[in-house]
């Protein structure tokens, strides 16, 4: 992970979550965000990207949705804390906790059979290859996941300190 924790715009997948560390350098935008109560420390969850791209909907943890432009999010320092497993922010060698398995019943069953469960710890074995190879930390099992499956698995960063 880069030391400056700016989220690459392309990494803003739905269901990612980040913590705002600073509001960015544009005074007007920073002031507007601050006045809406979106301040350093606020968790932002990305709900969706607009069909035409460029604009995203985020939730501020108060149950309230906002629309922002990607450039505004990219300009502020928002540290990723959770993301779908297919996100390019998921790095090899780090340990993640499964936060959410967002799928129907059969998906849940399939995951359970493979040994994946919420709050379980996983690691990526090889970055950037498909299907995605993961290792279940608790049982030391290896599982390979398809793109569609990985999309529904939301993982959380468990150690916040940077390991560059």
């Amino acid at each position: 992970m880069t030391s400056a924790q700016h989220i690459p715009v392309s990494a803003l997948l739905a269901q990612s979550e980040c913590i705002i560390r600073s509001l960015g350098s544009d005074d007007k935008t920073a002031q507007r965000l601050a006045q809406m109560g979106i301040l350093p420390g606020t968790h932002l969850r990305i709900i969706r990207v607009a069909p035409l791209g460029g604009t995203i909907e985020v939730n501020d943890g108060q149950g309230q949705s906002f629309a922002l432009r990607q450039q505004e999010v990219a300009a502020m320092n928002c540290e990723p804390v959770a993301m779908p497993l297919i996100s390019e922010l998921v790095a090899k060698g780090r340990t993640y906790m499964i936060r959410d398995l967002r799928g129907g019943k059969t998906f849940q069953q399939r995951m359970a059979a493979a040994g994946l469960q919420e709050e379980g710890l996983i690691q990526i074995r090889e970055a950037g290859v498909r299907p995605i190879q993961i290792r279940l930390v608790d049982t030391d099992r290896q599982v390979s996941l398809g793109q569609g499956e990985a999309k529904k698995i939301i993982v959380e960063v468990i150690n916040h300190e940077s390991n560059s």
Partner: protein, 670 residues
């Protein structure tokens, strides 16, 4: 009623979308008037209601997140509170969005003005099973806190009683203590002291004033005291050097720490539950693949709703007007008047009134559907869906709807720019709408293409004119963005409200007031415009109307050198002058000017195909009609913007026709 009771002013203030206007309508009923805040195109609404022996003027302030202005709306609110503080602030909180609203509540409480807090949308929180401890809120804020649903009217008597009490026994609001970094506290303290020593006369708390001054670039508007201004400037420099973030951001941080605490007191340990229905609806309306097709379908329905229903109504009105007119002007009393006066009454005044009336059905329908879209919450979704596209032109996503509806009629479209929340987008959109090909222009094009082209080619010409209109809108958008005509753009950070059921009452009221507003603000200008054109065409009185010898004809001939390079003769120039009134009458005026029975034959012998296209391009791009100009004037309240619209339309029309006609000649067409 006690005639000695002092007039009382209450200002409604809150963050956007918390129900101010709904409450305003509930309290003031039919006694509303709208206008613009001085100097800016921000709507100003005020109304009157009585409370016991008091006559209360209620002011609906624009929604703002804070008093440290980022937007023009926020500046309006701050200036209003500072320069003419109301007797009482009525702060509205959305019960489902407490923390955000409390940020502003705390900031306003610091002013020490008497305040009542109405916690609105209580019906929604109840439905979602959320309970609120409002006693705790009242205790912490030290002001009356009333539960309310502006939609159902629940809690209104309590609110009125609380307002009455506070008018009778005005009590300064206790200043909430918000802890700030020591350096800021010191700055506040010193400036407050200086203000205290100066002879400023204000009902506002001095620390509040000190904070506002620290945020502002120019303190002179509030104090002529040099010492205060100099001290403020000194502290601004110091704070800039020592704070890592800007001063208003630091203050917002402190405020929201307190607001979070307060919200927690009110809500207790209740978890935040997502509204399932809401997210399901968004899953459909903002869907990656279906979102846009659904949007296009809804826009089609909207367009059909406004114009499909509006056009027949307009037709009926116009027939009724014609009939009434011919009846009225066949009466003996009128016939006994001199012919010139008759014409003035009939072709001038009567015609002007007819033009004004013809807009009423579409304005009513337009705002009926607009309010549906806005109140239901879909408007915010439109802004989200279209933001990418419109942002390229420097516009708000909401501008899309206004521009789209311009393709039906420019007048309501310009009035509809009011739904946009920032004045930059509003002005820009207003300036772009006149380039849309409205149905009145379409009538001219259908008529002329039928004369000059075969039925196989005519539709393509019309299609190209639509293309030309799109290009004009887009290019002008880029140019206007470049020159910052509408001021500076504002950051796009928009709250997406939950879906709500619009009430017939609020939607109906809105249509009604917009019609009234149009009549009082734009109508006089429209009638004046019609009269001016009437004069041009009928003066002097001893020549046939619209002939070469009239003022219009002379103007046409004076302008001939200007229009000659476009291939537009003086007869068509007169028709263009007619076109200022309304594009619907251009064809009719051509018939008068050419004066024959076979207009098609006469025209095609006078005018070439190239010249007819050049004429149509000019018609497409120059001033749509006096009503649009009147609407732009009454929306922007800016002579500059109105003139820019007028002049840029004429200039662009001339240029486009010139380029088309001359390059056509160059390539050997004629």
């Amino acid at each position: 009623m006690n005639p000695t009771a002092e007039p009382v002013t209450i200002a409604l203030a809150s963050i956007p979308n918390s129900g101010k206007t709904t409450l305003f309508n509930l309290l003031t009923g039919s006694s509303q008037s709208t206008g613009n805040w001085p100097g800016v195109s921000v709507e100003q609404k005020s109304g009157i209601f009585s409370l016991g022996e008091y006559i209360v003027t209620l002011i609906d302030l624009p929604g703002t997140y804070a008093l440290s202005p980022v937007t023009e709306e926020e500046q309006v609110v701050r200036d209003y509170l500072l320069n003419s503080p109301p007797n009482i602030i009525l702060n509205v909180l959305d019960a489902g969005n407490l923390q955000r609203g409390l940020g502003l509540t705390l900031q306003m409480a610091a002013s020490a003005l008497p305040m009542v807090v109405a916690v609105n949308m209580i019906d929604e929180t109840r439905r979602r099973g959320i309970t609120l401890d409002l006693k705790a809120l009242a205790l912490h804020l030290g002001v009356p806190v009333i539960e309310l649903s502006a939609k159902t009217g629940e809690g209104l008597p309590d609110l009125k009683e609380a307002l009455y009490e506070i008018i009778k026994h005005p009590e300064k609001t206790r200043i909430p203590h918000i802890s700030c970094p020591p350096l800021l506290e010191k700055a506040f303290f010193q400036i407050t002291e200086a203000i205290g020593k100066s002879s400023i006369d204000t009902r506002l708390d001095h620390t509040f004033l000190a904070m506002r001054m620290l945020e502002a670039e120019n303190q002179n508007q509030w104090t002529s005291n040099e010492k205060v201004a100099a001290l403020t400037k000194k502290w601004q420099r110091r704070l800039k050097q020592s704070l890592q973030t800007s001063f208003p951001v630091v203050c917002a941080g402190c405020r929201f720490n307190a607001a979070r605490g307060l919200a927690m007191e009110v809500l207790g340990e209740q978890p935040i539950i997502e509204d399932k229905l809401n997210s399901r609806l968004d899953h459909i309306f903002l869907h990656r693949f279906f979102g846009l097709p659904i949007f296009i379908m809804l826009m089609f329905l909207l367009f059909q709703g406004v114009y499909g229903l509006g056009a027949p109504l307009q037709e009926i009105l116009s027939v009724a007007f014609d009939r009434a007119g011919s009846w009225l002007f066949s009466q003996f009393m009128v016939l006994s008047l001199p012919a010139g006066l008759q014409s003035f009454l009939f072709d001038g005044i009567w015609q002007g009134i007819a033009v004004v009336t013809s807009f009423l059905p579409i304005i009513a329908l337009f705002f009926f559907f607009m309010s549906l879209i806005e109140d239901s919450g879909y408007m915010a979704r439109v802004a989200f869906l279209m933001d990418r596209l419109m942002h390229r032109l420097g516009l708000d996503g909401k501008a899309f709807i206004s521009i789209l509806l311009g393709y039906g009629c420019n007048v309501p479209a310009v009035m509809g720019t009011r739904v946009m929340s920032n004045s930059y987008s509003r002005i820009l959109t207003m300036l772009l709408i006149p380039f849309t090909l409205c149905t009145a222009r379409l009538q001219i094009f259908v008529f002329l293409t039928a004369i000059f082209f075969t039925s196989a080619i005519a539709p393509w010409i019309i299609l190209s004119l639509y293309g030309c209109s799109f290009v004009a809108v887009i290019l002008s958008g880029f140019v206007l963005k470049l020159f910052h005509i509408g001021g500076t753009p504002e950051p796009f950070i928009m709250e997406i409200p939950p879906y709500r059921f619009p009430t017939l009452r609020s939607v109906g009221l809105r249509s009604w007031y917009e019609m009234k507003d149009f009549l009082s603000r734009a109508a006089p200008l429209i009638i004046a415009g019609v009269l001016i054109v009437w004069l041009l065409i009928h003066m002097p009185t001893n020549v046939p109307p619209a002939s070469a010898a009239t003022w219009a004809g002379q103007l046409g001939q004076i302008l001939a050198p200007v229009f000659q390079p476009l291939g537009i003769g003086w007869q068509e120039t007169i028709a263009l002058i007619f076109g200022f009134i309304a594009k619907e009458i251009v064809v009719g005026s051509l018939a008068v000017i050419y004066g024959g029975t076979d207009l098609a034959g006469l025209m095609s012998s006078h005018i070439t195909q190239m010249q007819s296209i050049s004429f149509m391009i000019f018609c497409l791009l120059y001033t749509p009609c006096v009503a649009t100009i009147a609407a732009i004037w009454s929306e922007s309240r800016s002579l500059r913007i109105t003139l820019i619209s007028l002049v840029s339309g004429l200039a662009i029309a001339w240029l486009a026709s010139f380029i088309f006609y001359q390059s056509g000649l160059l390539f050997g067409f004629n």
